[in-house]
């Protein structure tokens, strides 16, 4: 029997008459990286918010690290690290002050915080930038600082909502190197992304469309099922099938059309 860090059953969230998340169930084993894929507005962020204990579900059950999603939101928050697509740190605070602030929000005592800050600054490659205002950092560095703040309290689960959106390819690779190292150290990671190269690194991929979970498998399983090693093609195939609308099948086709003019 596998031990799940995050387990949800029949989770549904309605906003008025609109169903944002429709009867989703999945389990993420401890220490795995779960790639949560789906078009914009498909319900990824709503699901994440419920898992993080910020939004209460309309129906369904769920636990994070064994804590109930309805009753133990405080405990869940204490054990989850979250980082969003938008840089959510204070640009007018220095690197040091940002880490300090989040550290004290998680009630870490001063001595432990000082040591932890050193580790994280090292990890994020921000040594020497401690006194720089966060707003003056480059996009890649900002993301790493945000990751550092999300890890300040040594969370067992890390939730990343499009962490690399708008980040250059070099920084993206560096970022994912850190992510896989964290996973190796036993942290469970839930990540949403639109980059298929990133998704292929994940241990499990879940595909959500219009609030429903369409499929959940390992990247290898998906490749075999669809007879292709291109995750992007699989993604497009799902969207065009489910939305019954014509999706441009590949960038190659677009390029050919364009040069044909």
């Amino acid at each position: 029997m596998m031990e799940y860090a995050i387990e949800i059953q029949n989770l549904t969230k309605k906003f008025g008459s609109f169903t944002a998340v429709n009867d989703i169930s999945f389990g993420i084993p401890k220490g795995k990286i779960f790639g949560f894929l789906g078009p914009n507005g498909s319900g990824k962020s709503t699901t994440i918010r419920m898992i993080c204990g910020v939004l209460s579900p309309t129906s369904g059950r769920g636990t994070v690290l064994g804590y109930d999603m309805y009753k133990d939101t405080e405990r869940i928050k204490q054990n989850i690290g979250y980082m969003s697509q938008k840089f959510g740190l204070y640009e007018d605070l220095t690197v040091d002050e940002n880490l300090d602030f989040y550290g004290s929000i998680y009630m870490i005592d001063a001595e432990e915080l000082a040591a932890r800050k050193m580790e994280l600054i090292e990890m994020a490659g921000l040594a020497g930038k401690e006194k720089a205002l966060a707003g003056t950092l480059s996009g890649g560095m900002k993301q790493k600082l945000a990751l550092g703040c999300a890890l300040i309290h040594r969370p067992k689960v890390l939730v990343l909502d499009e962490p690399t959106a708008g980040v250059d390819p070099v920084s993206r690779r560096e970022f994912w190197k850190v992510i896989t190292e964290l996973s190796n150290s036993g942290i469970t990671i839930l990540v949403t992304t639109h980059y298929m190269d990133e998704a292929s690194i994940c241990d499990i991929i879940g595909f959500i469309y219009n609030g429903s979970l369409i499929t959940m498998d390992t990247p290898e399983g998906l490749f075999n099922k669809h007879n292709t090693r291109n995750l992007e093609d699989i993604f497009i195939e799902y969207v065009s099938k489910l939305s019954s609308k014509e999706v441009e099948l590949s960038f190659k086709d677009i390029r050919i059309k364009r040069s044909g003019v």
Binding site: S84, D92, E97
Partner: protein
């Protein structure tokens, strides 16, 4: 609620303020500027009114009366003429704002121990100046009368003439408008600065998207709100103190009543202002919107609160609106404690009204705020 978390939010908020120049200016310099501008500019004092004089008596007594007008700094002798029509003409031309016309038998009547009447003409085109000048003129004439009476006491054979009413102005005997305005300014500064800064602080987190990150942490909304408000309570009390000190230094406004009572009620009012700032932040999405909403809020409080215009003269409907504003009651409290030196026993109904309004505002704010978070 964890104190450590509240304090870490407070510390962070102070850093925001420190790094944001407009906030620093708003918190530290604006109150002083507002006090100077309002204190010196908003003045209904009437000084050095040019007065034409027609002395038809041309006697020691008449010159004595003219001298006492000249000695007061309220009037300035513009021109002497023996023709009363000429004096009136000067008012028509706007060369003089007032005229003193002394009848030919002025000295004769006084020497006989009779009452003599002088005429004072005042340009009424600016009613507030006219009213004040008329009051001053009457005051000067009266004191002239007293002097005459004193002379007569030494000569008891002459009977003192008719009975006359004397008015005595309490609390602000020289009727300086700064004495009346400055306590009001204290209230306005406390309100304006706090409302604007609070609304900004609350909206900023949402506008910049940092709230997204924050709600994922264990910090509760109560800890967040209290932590964020503490800096503005401190700034508000600082402004309150500095403005009161400057009022004393610059305008000679002394707190006649209890400083402790003033501080306590100031704090109560401050909490109301903070709450109004938060209320604005619940419907403003950006700092710009917060600014506009604040102005919409602050303008009536300047015009209707009794700060500038007496509420007694307002139409009933406007009067009712002014009664709903906390600042209206706080101004009464401020003037009561600072100018009159009265204690809580004279301010109970006003304080009760202030408390009731603030409780309602807080209830609405809390209600709106919790809905917003959901």
């Amino acid at each position: 609620m964890k104190i450590k978390r509240v304090l870490s939010v407070t510390k962070k908020e102070f850093i925001h303020i420190k790094r944001d120049k407009p906030s620093v200016i708003m918190a530290i310099i604006a109150p002083v500027i507002m006090l100077l501008v309002f204190g010196f500019a908003v003045s209904t004092d009437v000084n050095n009114v040019r007065m034409a004089i027609s002395d038809q008596s041309n006697s020691a007594e008449s010159r004595n009366l003219i001298q006492s007008f000249e000695n007061s700094y309220y009037f300035e002798v513009y021109n002497l003429t023996d023709n009363p029509e000429k004096a009136e003409e000067m008012i028509d031309k706007g060369e003089a704002k007032a005229a003193l016309i002394i009848p030919p038998d002025f000295a004769k009547e006084i020497r006989r121990g009779q009452k003599s009447t002088v005429q004072i003409l005042i340009d009424g085109s600016d009613p507030s100046v006219a009213r004040t000048a008329a009051a001053y003129a009457a005051m000067i004439s009266n004191s002239f009368n007293i002097k005459l009476n004193n002379v007569r006491y030494k000569n008891p054979s002459v009977q003192s003439a008719a009975i006359e009413a004397r008015s005595l102005v309490l609390y602000n005997p020289t009727l300086e408008s700064s004495k009346f305005n400055v306590p009001g300014i204290v209230g306005l500064i406390l309100q304006n600065i706090t409302i604007i800064l609070t609304a900004f602080a609350m909206v900023r987190e949402r506008e910049r998207g940092t709230i997204e990150q924050l709600i994922m942490t264990p910090v509760t909304s109560l800890e967040l709100v209290i932590g964020k408000l503490i800096p503005y309570v401190i700034i508000g009390m600082y402004d309150f103190t500095i403005v009161l000190i400057l009022s004393y230094i610059l305008f000679g406004v002394v707190i006649k009543g209890s400083v402790l009572l003033l501080t306590i009620l100031g704090l109560v009012f401050l909490i109301g202002a903070l709450s109004m700032g938060m209320l604005i932040s619940t419907f403003a999405k950006t700092q710009l919107q917060a600014m506009q909403a604040s102005i919409l809020f602050l303008l009536p409080s300047v015009l209707l609160s009794g700060f500038m215009f007496p509420r007694e003269a307002m139409p009933k409907f406007v009067y009712a609106i002014s009664t709903l504003m906390p600042i209206t009651h706080f101004l009464i409290i401020l003037r009561g404690i600072i100018l009159k030196g009265v204690g809580i026993e004279y301010l109970i109904s006003t304080t009760a009204a202030l408390l009731a309004i603030i409780v309602i505002i807080i209830a609405v704010t809390v209600n709106k705020f919790t809905k917003k978070l959901d």
